[in-house]
Symmetry: C2
Subunit: 152 residues, 2 copies
DNA sequence: TATTGTTATACTCTATAACTATA
DNA sequence: TATAGTTATAGAGTATAACAATA
């Protein structure tokens, strides 16, 4: 085998000022976290966005798609497809709203509620792995530092 | 105008345990940061991934696409398109490698180097806005907490 | 046999615009 | 006029698989 060359993969690469950009660090962490979430939730084939939608519907039954979209910072056009998918799996139902015939009241179905119990268990397991990865103290510090940040 | 109804947008929405998930908080922060980055760099129409690639090539001229891809955690198939775009704008050039005829040595062009100087200025301006948004102390704390995290 | 760059495909997510039915 | 939901489109990013040239 040849000695590795000057432009080879094996050599260290200088990231220069990238680590001074919070966006760079945050993005890399987020990718790792999402990858672990998706793997952990693989038995339910549930992605982070779907989990956040189910969580909000579970905690706020009867709210409209707009309310959920605004709370999560998801485009309402995107939420349509997310709800479509969850509805197709019989996790979520759109109930005609009594007050405003334009909107739907969102609820978890019975099946969705039962699934959500187990989904939550896996999500908690995932979070333990995140804490382990970044360090328990760092995990607490990060939750505290980022608490209440809304990207409005 | 009617009083707002029970499932209306105006009411508070309970996020339940979402804020205990680091992934949720990190994702929302990352979206805000990227949005600001894209706006700030709009004069160059440069996105975060393109900026990271130019930064690494600038700091490590002559390295291969694989080396850059590994350093940034970008799929090599994806990097092909990123380099294509930067090359089409005459920011980056692929030079045939002397040692390994399979690979290209990546360099910023003269034009790319000049642009990068100004791009860096805008990126620093962006970072000041990030620090302002999360708070200067929190910004420092976050950089320290996330330093060295690699999503390998 | 393994690696580099490339092409191709599929899916997720973001961003917009336009349409409908209601308000 | 404005809003809720929907449909459609375009682009970025991720994940794979396969191929040619080269190691």
């Amino acid at each position: 085998m040849q000695p590795r060359s000057a432009d080879d993969t094996g050599l260290q690469v200088d990231l220069d000022r990238l680590p001074d950009h919070l966006g760079y660090l945050v993005r890399r962490l987020q990718r790792w976290i999402f990858k672990d979430f998706i793997q952990t939730l693989a038995p339910f084939d549930l992605r982070p966005a779907q989990y956040s939608v189910m969580t909000v519907i579970h905690a706020n039954p009867g709210r409209s798609q707009m309310a959920v979209a605004l709370a999560l910072g998801i485009e309402r056009a995107r939420l349509v497809h997310l709800i479509d998918g969850l509805q197709a799996r019989n996790y979520v139902e759109r109930v005609p709203s009594a007050n405003d015939r334009r909107s739907h009241a969102l609820h978890l179905t019975r099946h969705g509620g039962i699934a959500f119990d187990r989904i939550r268990t896996l999500a908690a397991e995932h979070e333990r792995r995140v804490a382990e990865r970044v360090g328990p103290e760092q995990h607490k510090a990060l939750l505290r530092l980022l608490a209440g940040f809304a990207d409005g």
